[in-house]
């Protein structure tokens, strides 16, 4: 016990020392990351990208001459820890904004954010976060929640529209069957209601949803259920690790040739993937060099989406600093300033987004890509991408209409 109190005393002294030397001309930003919890497989590249982007911003002059002070914390996808961190960030040294992460904690923090006026740019794209005034009647007011990209519900709607067209294009008649698969958790459940409603509208037969956990494991039973119910299209709502487990198990159950993820459709948050043909890709590569000097590491789609989110925050901060200082309120106003907004240097990568006081749906354009796998996927991701064993090909860009009936859920 003596050793422990000695250690904590030393650490406290160190911490106080560090805090004391922190310069006044710095803008504090909170950053929630999941490097070790249930969504760490996608949390790690996203968090890395946020850290890289802000390091790049600081290297190139910061925001309005001030450096950004990013407080990155791995909260392991546990809501109580996120709330404790939030209390730290809304205390005496209030942050100007928070780069949030998961659905469960972002939804839990909505009320606090509105009360303390701190904007949260989350990696949770739940539609319940898009209604700033609660006007839709389907979500509680979330005036300080923002995210870049289409919401889960809108992405699911776009995929369903594609699926309906695909069914007709293949010349099949009758009602296609659709099933939602995901864990019993806010993140996969977010688009379930919206998706099933649109599916019914488009003429799908909606099958009962299947549940499988967020952790990777043995899901052959769920696959057998899926097969026996005869579903034609299934929406896998979990993160990469568990989705891959399901795909592998289902591949065996369905006896298809080729590797498990071949032919899977997924929405891309940005207009292009890594290495794609766009002027903005140069900026992204520069940012990537902040943590990968060789420039050879393949950055997954989440990395690029995170760069876009962080760059939007940076430009909102730019506006805030020029118009009254970097407080949470001004940063939120900064988000409303431009229409069809693409951050400088990110042309062709980030989709043009518009946020207004009444509607926080930034963009309704969903880029659907298909993964094409032409060989075995055992091996390093970098090699597979460079050799072309895994290819992402664009299928369709669906621009959803900004319907008020689809607002907030």
């Amino acid at each position: 016990m003596t050793m422990k109190s000695l250690l904590s005393g030393v650490s406290l002294a160190l911490l106080l020392g560090c805090a004391g030397t922190a310069a006044q001309a710095q803008i504090p930003i909170g950053h929630l990351a999941d490097y070790s919890g249930g969504t760490s497989d996608v949390g790690t590249p996203y968090g890395q990208a946020v850290a890289d982007t802000f390091a790049w911003v600081n290297k190139n002059g910061g925001v309005g001459g001030k450096q950004l002070k990013i407080d990155t914390n791995d909260y392991g996808y546990q809501v109580p820890r996120a709330i404790a961190l939030y209390k730290k960030w809304s205390g005496s040294e209030k942050v100007a904004a928070i780069m949030g992460w998961g659905t469960a904690d972002t939804e839990a923090l909505t009320g606090f954010l509105a009360q303390d006026k701190i904007p949260d740019i989350s990696a949770s794209y739940a539609a319940a976060l898009t209604d700033p005034e609660g006007a839709s009647g389907k979500a509680k007011p979330a005036p300080y929640n923002f995210f870049y990209g289409p919401s889960y519900s809108d992405a699911m709607r776009a995929m369903l529209i594609w699926a309906a067209e695909d069914w007709k294009a293949k010349g099949k008649s009758g009602k296609p069957k659709f099933a939602h698969m995901g864990a019993n958790h806010p993140y996969p459940n977010a688009p379930k209601a919206a998706g099933e409603a649109l599916a019914a509208e488009l003429g799908f037969e909606v099958l009962p949803p299947l549940v499988f956990a967020l952790t990777p494991g043995d899901y052959s039973a769920q696959c057998l259920s899926l097969k026996s119910s005869g579903a034609n299209y299934a929406y896998l709502g979990n993160t990469a690790a568990s989705n891959v487990s399901v795909l592998k198990a289902c591949k065996t159950a369905a006896k298809t040739a080729g590797d498990a993820a071949n032919g899977v459709i997924f929405p891309l948050r940005t207009a292009v993937a890594w290495g794609g043909n766009a002027p903005g890709m140069k900026t992204v590569m520069e940012i990537s060099k902040m943590s990968d000097p060789t420039g050879k590491v393949y950055r997954p789609v989440h990395y690029i989406a995170a760069v876009c989110s962080a760059m939007y925050l940076k430009e909102a901060l730019d506006w805030a600093v020029k118009n009254g200082g970097a407080t949470g309120e001004n940063v939120a106003k900064g988000f409303y300033q431009k229409k069809d907004w693409v951050p400088a240097g990110m042309e062709g990568v980030c989709n043009p987004s518009t946020w207004t006081e009444k509607d926080h749906r930034g963009t309704l354009k969903v880029d659907l890509y298909r993964s094409k796998i032409s060989g075995s996927t055992d091996g390093d991701l970098n090699d597979l991408m460079t050799k072309g064993t895994i290819k992402l090909e664009k299928v369709k860009a669906v621009e959803l209409p900004r319907k008020p009936e689809w607002f907030g859920w």
């Binding site: 009962p208 952790t215 057998l224 259920s225 026996s228 690790a241 075995s376």
Partner: protein
């Protein structure tokens, strides 16, 4: 009644159940011999799986050599755990020992995530053919292998306890430690060997699961499923633990069947 579906599920349940049975067997082994409730059983599976994966994927060792190396490593590892952590805890109340094994499971999980990363890794291909046709049902080769391996291990354990000298010594210690000690059996070595065997057998189960599903931290869930299996089968019976495991495997899949076919009130 969707019979085709049900039969597939039952086969699946049987395969998974024998794996549960094997893990439950190693759990009961430790409990019977040393009276320790091992909450870190799932992590032993995980360690075995990761070590084998590292040997095969990183060091390019062929499977027929990597597997025995893993087993030797786990044998030594089991003895090491018993000597370093559990021997000082002999005589402490059961709750403290449970806490120690729980602490061990935390340490193992975090260390493995550190060394091998959080992403699940596919296991390098071991078999040339993907599935085998048996009685008109498609079973993955790996599942068939796991059935064979599990049954072989159960037979091996049964023989060990019935016929070999060390097995007899372990049964004697499990029955009455003091009398066994008075007859010259080294209770300390019996404890160490019990842990070593349990670790090795769990590692085999871990590798089998890894070959099917890839290596990931989800393997430690097997450590929790061990409890109902052991309770169903009876804590003092190794054969019972096997039976308990099979029942749990079948029950899981039957529940999935009932859930998907009948239980939808929406």
């Amino acid at each position: 009644m969707n019979t085709q579906f049900l039969i597939q599920l039952l086969v699946n349940g049987l395969v998974v159940g024998t794996l549960y049975g094997v893990v439950a067997m190693s759990f009961v082994l430790i409990y019977k011999a040393t009276q320790v409730v091992n909450f870190a059983q799932g992590e032993l599976l995980l360690i075995g799986a990761w070590v084998c994966w590292a040997l095969l994927a990183r060091y390019e060792v062929p499977f027929w050599m990597g597997m025995p190396l893993t087993l030797v490593f786990m044998f030594v590892f089991g003895i090491a755990i018993q000597i370093v952590i559990l021997r000082p805890m002999i005589g402490e109340p059961i709750i403290s020992v449970i806490m120690v094994t729980i602490g061990l499971s935390t340490v193992f999980q975090a260390s493995l995530k550190w060394i091998f990363g959080v992403n699940p890794q596919p296991f390098p291909r071991v078999f040339t053919s993907q599935s085998v046709s048996l009685l008109g049902l498609q079973i993955q080769t790996v599942y068939a292998m796991s059935l064979v391996v599990s049954v072989a291990m159960m037979i091996g354990m049964a023989w060990f306890f019935r016929a070999s000298k060390y097995g007899l010594a372990m049964r004697a210690t499990a029955f009455n430690q003091q009398v066994a000690q008075s007859l010259g059996i080294s209770v300390k070595s019996v404890f160490a060997i019990a842990w070593a065997i349990s670790a090795t057998v769990s590692a085999v189960a871990g590798v089998v699961v890894a070959v099917v599903n890839g290596v990931s931290s989800g393997l430690s869930a097997y450590g929790i499923k061990v409890f109902p299996a052991a309770i169903l089968g009876g804590l003092d019976s190794i054969g019972g633990a096997v039976l308990g495991g099979i029942i749990i495997g079948l029950l899981e899949n039957i529940a999935q069947y009932i859930d998907s076919e009948y239980l939808h009130f929406v």
